[in-house]
Subunit: 140 residues, 2 copies
Amino acid sequence: MLKTKKVMLQVGDTYSHEFSFNKENVFQFAEVSGDKNPIHLDDEYASKTIFKRRIIHGFLGASIFSKVFGMLFPGEGTVYLSQTLKFMAPMYEDETYTAKFTVLEVIPEKHRAKIETLILDKDGKIITSGEAVVMNPTKI
Amino acid sequence: MLKTKKVMLQVGDTYSHEFSFNKENVFQFAEVSGDKNPIHLDDEYASKTIFKRRIIHGFLGASIFSKVFGMLFPGEGTVYLSQTLKFMAPMYEDETYTAKFTVLEVIPEKHRAKIETLILDKDGKIITSGEAVVMNPTKI
């Protein structure tokens, strides 16, 4: 009888996921997180800042990493252990971004992987960078 | 005429903020982030995991840092530059946690500070740890 070999995460694997957030998402995130900083919510206030217009909460933008890890790559059963985040440039509503993941290290005996996490704009500029460590007992 | 000296952030300053999230917050966060991992939403599924019951999204828990930086400490005008997060233990709905901040470094000429960011449970156990770098042109 043939044994099916499970396909596990490998160093060098990459995964990309396109996404965008709209105005409703930003106001909902402000509500649920309690972060009502006017830079995210108030056009008039935001127009006088270095960003010139309202920006998306960094944590809302970076929540794409949580979504992808939990649902797509590696997916179901993933436990989030750590995440570093550098907010290098602001994110705006209704623009399309790509979350890009690259597996940097795999520790099979602990079912853990270190994964580079990037958010890129449509020109490939890095908007948010960082690294995550995740555990998944069946996929890593 | 007396000049008023602005009170700026100092190394060693601390700030604490109590908070909790409820079930509605968790479901709202799942909606807005797209992270519908059943560990956060499905009682039956969660009961079979190592956590035994539904847990709060790590990013929802840690969004308290974003709220405090933007609204309370140092407050208005804060720009978030970076954040590290270690999710050391799960967070649950309707429990009271404390976000604790300690200023580790101040770079006045860049208006930047490095701040330790912790989430503690009611027994003082560290649930989430990390460090942030924030900029605030008038308060740092």
